[in-house]
Symmetry: C2
Subunit: 304 residues, 2 copies
């Protein structure tokens, strides 16, 4: 599988496609805004004129903003119900046996729906969302969470090894995105809980930095605390992972949960906080900016 | 300061007093249920007939269930407003210069109020709640969070070194309990977030154990995840730290927050979950039993 169609060359997709080229893959790239695809010509990419052209490769990687984008590219329409169906798509041009690897972060419900449509044509699919953001996309050290069949995962493993430092098969199709959304719920709620606890400490007249030092080694300690508390204490909310993107992930998580009868009281509450931050113009802040929500309510900065 | 009055010989207090005796302190013990005090006679304790008698020691340690108990023992009445005031108390019998070390987990608001009353009589106070539970109380490895003056902290340090593996001065009086409550908010919300994410994974058809393995090394990773996820996967909710005790801590946190204009949307929501677990008869479960709240709502067990 040295020949790959790569669709979606945004902040994440472009460095990922570049790493595949560097590793010796023949990559045919497509992007809606063609100029971004042209930039990869110098790296050895073939620039496709259409999705259909990229879809002729035996392996197709998609890296797109959200579920409707993936559905549009792969199946031709943004929703299952839409009458408006584009003829330039993957499903009508990919040969039976093709492996579609969707590395976008989307709803696992949508992953499963797309996979079911592809299966009718004998096209295989893995969902393989990543974490690590742009820096790890560039360095080829993404963490890749994969859903699908073990045989397909093994086939894709060399490609994952180029793009990431770890790739784990979590379960059947959709499990990659389920894993990512579970991760995103826990991270969002943990950042908010950290902010809620620390603003209380500050309001009570206790130095949040001292509290951080006192509790980080105990049961309250976490990667979120270690990574985000220094940012909050410095009031430095440069991303990192943006609030607007985390809202997208929580939307997908809550939609999937609703469709499956799973309650999300905490994720829903933290999504409301994030939406308010977005309304306040802080959507481009790092998600540690959840501290701003508590700071605004109390008129108190979480600092030493 | 080799002479200590020790008031409150419950699950935590008794092994703590015993460790002080072992370390060579002369300890005069008092407990409302006298039989518990008598048990320490064999360890060399002097059993006091009254709080007043124990209060004559130059250092007094209190280890009691909650703020009203500490107020009753130290000041004679459970609330600032109460007309019913016991003559058997600390404040009327302790000499000026006495150091009261309250190691109970109570509201920092109450700590400050008691400290202010004691100060009028020239009696000093530290608030020094602990974490680690009964096993660490027995082994002398508690984590001790201290609020008060640095000079008093230094004076108490040898005693803390007997009782704990770490003792940190976090800030002025009340800061020990503020630190503890911040810790308890973060822990409670993190356990609930873990449960919320993992029950969603299970409902989506993905193995929560696999999700745990995939995400524990990343930003969602935490001490809570490492300590509690194996318990949840095994459906083993033996305490550990009981839900009923965590409700007490969240009550104190939320009361203190309300008195100081600090919002607690997440802590309040998780307290509701814990209260429902209490109503269901699960108050004596470990706080990882928050998973039971989500399992009941979904009819789904978080297991492999």
């Amino acid at each position: 599988m040295k020949e790959i169609g790569f669709i979606g060359l945004g902040i994440m997709g472009k460095p990922m496609a570049r790493n595949l080229l560097k590793a010796g893959y023949r990559v045919t790239v497509f992007n809606r805004t063609r100029s971004k695809a042209e930039e990869l010509r110098a790296d050895g990419a073939t620039v496709a004129d259409s999705i259909a052209e990229a879809a002729k490769c035996p392996v197709i990687v998609t890296m797109l903003p959200n579920g409707p984008d993936v559905r549009k590219v792969v199946l031709g329409s943004e929703t299952a119900e839409s009458a408006d169906r584009s003829a330039d798509n993957v499903i009508d041009y990919a040969a039976p046996g093709t492996l579609v690897i969707d590395m976008s972060s989307i709803s696992p419900v949508v992953s499963k729906e797309i996979g079911a449509e592809l299966a009718k044509k004998g096209i295989r699919m893995l969902d393989a969302p990543v974490s690590g953001g742009e820096p790890k996309a560039i360095s080829g050290e993404l963490a890749i969470m994969v859903g699908g069949d073990e045989k397909d995962f093994e086939e894709a493993k060399p490609l994952f090894d180029v793009l990431g430092s770890s790739a784990l098969l979590v379960g059947p199709l959709g499990s990659g995105n389920t894993c990512k959304l579970t991760n995103q719920i826990i991270v969002a709620v943990n950042i908010a809980a950290l902010s809620e606890g620390m603003v209380l400490a500050k309001k009570m007249g206790t130095d949040p930095e001292k509290v951080f030092q006192a509790i980080k080694g105990g049961l309250a300690g976490s990667s979120v605390m270690n990574a985000k508390m220094p940012m909050i204490l410095a009031q430095d909310f440069k991303p990192g992972f943006k609030i607007d993107l985390h809202i997208k992930d929580l939307n997908n998580a809550i939609e999937a949960a609703e469709a499956n009868g799973s309650p999300t009281p905490l994720a829903s509450l933290v999504r409301e906080m994030m939406k308010e931050l977005h309304e306040d113009g802080n959507g481009q802040c790092d998600h540690s900016g959840l501290a701003l929500y508590y700071q605004k309510l109390t008129g108190t900065l979480i600092e030493s």
